[in-house]
Assembly symmetry: C2
Homo-oligomer: 141 residues x 2
């Protein structure tokens, strides 16, 4: 199987397959006499694993560990679960951050008339915001 076929079968682009190989996430594929990479079903399965893990937001660095556990038949499921929980915690943190941004923005947008007048609470917030303190306290030049 060529890299293009492996890409279609795995859902990972040929570009990324080469990248994963270059960075050591996957072992170097075999080559034909003319230099073409060759893939077997096993390797496609590994690529699909990677793809799925990426879809769940795992960074490649963590996928290294996941792949190691996947291959290790004497693994302990606790190790897998811990990695998953770390990922869940990281996602939750980012979601909360973004939710806070969104809430603030929604609040500001709700207060903005959104008409042809220049007055805008959004710009007021951005410009003079909550962290003022540079106007008269110190010499500003």
């Amino acid at each position: 199987m060529n890299i293009g076929e492996a890409a279609k079968a795995s859902g990972v682009s040929a570009k990324m397959i080469r990248y994963y190989e270059a960075t050591g996430l996957i072992p170097a594929a075999g080559r034909t006499g003319s230099g073409y990479r060759v893939y077997s079903g096993t390797e496609v399965q590994m690529l699909r694993f990677i793809r799925r893990a990426r879809d769940l937001g795992f960074p490649v660095e963590k996928i290294v560990a996941l792949l190691a556990l996947w291959r290790d038949r004497s693994r302990q499921s606790a190790d897998v679960k811990r990695l998953a929980q770390e990922q869940i915690d990281g996602l939750e943190k980012k979601i909360k951050e973004m939710q806070a941004m969104m809430d603030t923005l929604q609040h500001l947008a709700d207060a903005c008339c959104g008409n042809d007048r220049p007055e805008c609470p959004i710009l007021v917030d951005l410009g003079g915001g909550p962290a003022a303190g540079l106007s008269k306290s110190k010499s500003a030049a």
Copy 2:
């Protein structure tokens, strides 16, 4: 005011101030005879605007537009509101994506014993997952 002081006063690192100048987000600062950048209160205010907008997740590209509206005294608040709404929509989309990832992961993690045994539904999902179809259908070599 030197760049270091402007950085402290605005919450934007000196590194980023130079970057914003290089990319044209902010106009080039004045210079002393020896080449040091000089900042006034007005410029610090602009930097704080940028900082605040970044904290709300706006990409620098959008901040260009926000700054333009901020400076434009004949702006229409509808334009500001539209930018904010786009940002809200983008955040909402990303939050939903991450929430979906998190839900899936939580589901899998809940099903994993997390003990010293190798069996693990998380790895089963990643490895054989929902998109099977390479086992017997086509010649895999």
